[in-house]
């Protein structure tokens, strides 16, 4: 129930992305999800008295890399600040974050909504440390500090989105970007990508309305559902002549609705001030040059290029371009001279099926790009036809050998010697007099049957075109 003609809705996102670094942002502890609670901790990330943060340069590089991919202005000097609030999962009771001088500002990300490209402005990107995890068990509260100090990049968009669907698309696109860059797994299930949203609704043309923040959106689906719920809720309030209360709400996934968390009056004063333990970070020419070597073609650009220059379908491009490794694999196959649409068809079809069955990625499977191209070459040369190609493909996975070798070993090369084929055809005609009579009487139906008999006699290897022609010559 939306009123598209009467109201505008505005959505801005704050997306937190955990960066995959060897160690945490301010200490040497391992940065890894799923370990035994409180095993990846040290005096620094436990906030023991006397410990100090020491900046992990790799986290900085990865954060700048994302900001660059999001077309941000990269700060030549950025500053860490302390964000002060008490919470048991925050060991120091302040979070080292960025406030006045974030590392990236004024960027944008393109998303495709219903086939139309939409540009969403990025307000800023800043780097901070993640908190621990609190678990409530009965009358106990437990804290796991393994996550404490995981480098967390916060990406803040301008309120350029209008619907939950767009927000969901943006999150998917961002997930692709961070995965393409190799800086995060972007996994919302495991919390390595998390999202808060700001929503406001106002009379059409009147600009932003009163902002409501929605938290606890731990899947892209919840982002869509909660935003659309909020837009409807706020629209209804306005329809009834009311005013939206500026507040923070939580998504309740069991009831599919947002509920009040706190009003603006109870908002925290974080008392930001510059982190005295960390000097300002200054980029150097070497640092920036290193970013240049690490930047990659963005997933959306790549999908567009695959469609426009290689002539594959939009859907194929989406499947192939979802993961960088897959798209790289695809283009690698093409480097061996294979034809784009053919490779795409095989890759999204039979190859994908085999990969799913074996649980491998294309890059790590026995089907190297070279073997893939060879298989297609065998077809193009007329040495095998489609059905045999599928058999050989399976054998490549099974035996980890080149298609040409398998074809030779298994005797799968196509029969296109007309003498041999003629013998087979004659024999089939002799063996099936009834069918032959029917055809001669004008009923062409058993033609397919005879065709099948010849193929069967040849072990599937007979070149179907030639067989057909011969049968016609004999019976036509």
């Amino acid at each position: 129930m939306r009123y598209p003609t009467k109201y505008d809705s505005f959505v801005g996102l704050e997306i937190h992305v955990q960066l995959t670094t060897e160690s945490k942002i301010f200490c040497g502890c391992r940065n890894r999800f799923g370990d035994e609670p409180n095993t990846n901790v040290c005096p620094v990330c436990m906030g023991l008295p006397g410990s100090l943060p020491s900046l992990n340069q790799e986290a900085m590089s990865k954060a700048y890399l994302v900001a660059k991919a999001l077309h941000c202005d990269l700060a030549d000097t950025c500053l860490f600040e302390r964000k002060n609030y008490f919470y048991p999962d925050l060991p120091k009771n302040y979070q080292i974050s960025q406030f006045a001088k974030p590392l990236g500002t004024n960027g944008w990300i393109d998303i495709v909504v219903d086939g139309v490209t939409k540009r969403v402005r990025i307000h800023e990107c800043h780097l901070e440390e993640d908190a621990g995890k609190m678990i409530h068990a009965g009358d106990m509260s437990l804290v796991d500090y393994n996550r404490t100090g995981t480098p967390l990049l916060e990406i803040v968009t301008e309120p350029d989105l209008n619907l939950g669907e767009e927000a969901e698309i943006l999150i998917h696109e961002l997930r692709r970007i961070v995965r393409y860059l190799g800086v995060s797994d972007g996994n919302m299930d495991e919390g390595s990508m998390r999202c808060d949203a700001n929503v406001s609704v106002n009379t059409k043309g009147a600009g932003l309305g009163r902002k409501v923040e929605v938290k606890n959106l731990n899947s892209s689906r919840f982002v869509r559902l909660s935003l659309n719920y909020e837009i409807d809720r706020q629209t209804e309030i306005l329809e009834d002549g009311g005013t939206v209360v500026q507040e923070t709400r939580l998504w309740n996934e069991n009831r599919d609705q947002t509920i009040v968390m706190r009003s603006k009056e109870n908002a925290n004063d974080y008392r930001y001030f510059p982190e005295p333990d960390l000097p300002p970070f200054r980029t150097t020419p070497e640092f920036l040059a290193d970013l240049e070597t690490r930047i990659v073609e963005l997933p959306l650009d790549r999908r567009v290029r695959l469609v426009s220059t290689l002539g594959i379908s939009q859907t194929q491009a989406e499947v192939i371009g979802e993961e960088k490794a897959n798209a790289d694999y695809f283009e690698k196959v093409l480097e061996y001279g294979a034809d784009g649409p053919t490779v795409a068809t095989w890759m999204t079809g039979d190859v994908q099926k085999l990969l799913n069955r074996t649980g491998q990625s294309a890059a790590e499977s026995p089907l190297t790009p070279e073997r893939f191209a060879e298989l297609l070459t065998l077809m193009a040369e007329g040495k095998i036809h489609g059905k045999i190609a599928k058999t050989i493909l399976e054998l490549v996975f099974e035996k980890n050998k080149n298609p040409r070798v398998i074809m030779a070993e298994q005797g799968l090369e196509q029969m296109n010697d007309s003498g041999e084929l003629a013998k087979l055809v004659s024999q089939v005609l002799v063996d099936n007099p009834v069918a032959v009579e029917q055809i001669k009487a004008g009923d062409t139906k058993p033609m397919g049957f005879l065709m099948g008999q010849v193929m069967k006699a040849s072990g599937g290897r007979a070149e179907p075109g030639m067989v057909q022609k011969m049968l016609k010559e004999h019976l036509g």
Binding site: P43, M46, G47, L48, P49, G50, S51, L52, P53, S54, L55, R82, N84, F86, P88, P91, K92, N93, Y94, S141, V143, Y145, D269, Y270, R271, F273, P276, D277, L278, P279
Partner: protein, 474 residues
């Protein structure tokens, strides 16, 4: 124990028992140590691997109880951390261990370094070895008293607003506050991160210098450290021109007399004296307390009773646990400063307080740039009074803060400063301090050495020196 023996022998197998007995006897009066355990201190590093050639081999030393030493408590003089045992050692401590030094214990201090008397400690009272009715100063009062009472040749302290220099001054020993960034703060429990450094208290200049040279270094665990090798003193430690702070300084008679005397001695030693005033000096204390308390409000937030530290017997929920822990664990002065710091950082009030204080700090830095473009060293008092009495007879907390104006300048500017004992007046030590440009500590040692030959320092009558250093005490 009538005969002076070498410090190196105090912890040798033959001497340890006598040493421990003597320290216990003396410290029963002074109260400098919160924890004293030389045998455990020896285990900080396998003594078998210590080479006799190491710079501080076998030398006992004390550590202020806000600097981490593994397997020793790290109480910061607070009930909050009364039972906290550190699982790691500070970088500065590691460096002294690597040079052969043996930590014998942890010394008393004002709670979390907040005070100028050591009387805000929740865990014990430290008295001045020169007069047990007087305070030892603070916040590194335990370290200064331990050195003055002859219990150790040197001790580590920390200086946030004068906390090494003022107690050293009260106890008649040397107190060095190094350049900010010269010594790693890793393992120093933070009070005001941008102001404080680990410093050294010693009865003899060679120890002061040796220890400083041992602990200074860039540390990957403290991103605010710098490599001192990158900052060579253009004067190579030489000083010819000395600026002297003049104007109405508000000094007690004994202090004023000593200050004038040092000025005369400097002239006699052939130094050129330049009288100077610091326009920003009156703003130093308010700026200092604004910045220090702001940082403290965040630094002390980690003490919430959840992972370690004082914890109430019972609490309903995590929020109450945190509240009760902090209410019961912190003393009045600490609570006052946390509240003050929280206040000055409130959104909408930062311009008025925190940012303004930072501007004063910048102006003070410029003042000193100007000073050191004209002179090589700068003389100023340490504290307006000599050691004051315990309790109500002394200075109240507000008077103590106002009196920090001479010491806080070095912390606000990050410059090195050395408190030098100059003699005795009315039975209590007097002293002055010198400041130098960043990373020019050598100038301070040189000045101290030259002045020493013209001064009669004496020692606390009840606590004559027990042991001699390698160089002996003149």
């Amino acid at each position: 124990m009538t005969q002076q023996i070498n410090w190196k022998e105090t912890l040798a197998d033959g001497g340890q028992k006598a040493y421990i007995a003597e320290v216990k006897k003396r410290d029963a009066l002074v109260g400098s140590f919160l924890e004293f355990d030389p045998p455990r201190g020896k285990m900080a590093r396998p003594q078998a691997e210590v080479q006799t050639t190491e710079e501080l081999a076998g030398i006992p030393f004390a550590i202020k109880d806000n600097i981490a030493l593994r397997n020793f408590k790290l109480t910061c003089g607070s009930k909050m951390l009364a039972h906290f045992v550190s699982p790691y050692s500070a970088t500065a401590v590691e460096k002294i261990l690597a040079a052969g030094g043996i930590p014998v214990g942890k010394t008393n201090m004002d709670e979390f370094g907040m005070g100028s008397s050591t009387d805000t400690s929740a865990l014990g009272t430290t008295s001045n070895p020169w007069d047990l009715t007087k305070v030892a100063g603070g916040s590194s009062g335990g370290s200064a008293a331990a050195v003055a009472a002859g219990l150790v040749p040197f001790a580590l302290g920390t200086d946030t607003g004068g906390s090494v220099r003022q107690p050293a001054n009260f106890c008649g020993v040397y107190g060095l506050k190094p350049t900010y960034g010269a010594v790693s703060r890793y393992g120093l429990v933070a009070y005001a991160s941008s102001l404080e450094t680990i410093g050294v208290v010693a009865r003899e200049i060679p120890y002061l210098e040796k220890v400083f040279n041992t602990i200074r270094d860039q540390d990957e665990k403290d991103n605010t450290t710098a490599d001192w090798r990158d900052f060579s003193d253009p004067k190579e430690g030489e000083v010819t021109k000395i600026g002297v702070l003049t104007g109405s300084l508000g000094l007690d008679p004994g202090v004023a007399e000593a200050y004038a005397q040092v000025r005369q001695e400097l002239l006699a030693l052939g130094y050129e004296i330049v009288e100077m005033q610091l326009p920003m000096l009156d703003y130093a204390v308010p700026a200092y307390y604004t910045i220090a308390t702001a940082e403290a409000s965040a630094n002390l937030a980690r003490f919430n009773g959840i992972r370690y530290g004082h914890r109430p017997v019972y609490s309903e929920n995590p929020e109450e646990l945190v509240q009760k822990s902090r209410d019961e664990g912190f003393g009045a002065e600490v609570k006052l400063r946390i509240l003050l710091g929280t206040y000055v950082l409130r959104s909408g009030f930062q311009d008025q307080f925190y940012l303004r204080a930072q501007k004063i700090r910048t102006a003070l830095v410029r003042d000193f740039d100007k000073v050191f473009s004209q002179v090589d060293g700068f003389l100023l008092p340490v504290f307006p009074t000599q050691a004051f009495s315990h309790g109500d007879g002394g200075l109240d907390p507000f008077q103590q803060k106002v009196a920090d104006k001479f010491t806080t300048t070095a912390n606000l500017t990050g410059l090195p400063a050395l408190a030098i004992p100059t003699g005795v007046s009315g039975g209590l030590p007097t002293g002055v301090q010198f400041m130098a440009p960043a990373f020019c500590e050598d100038r301070l040692f040189g000045l101290a050495r030259r002045l020493k030959s013209n001064l009669t320092l004496g020692e606390p009558p009840e606590f004559p020196a027990l042991y001699a250093g390698q160089e002996g005490r003149s």
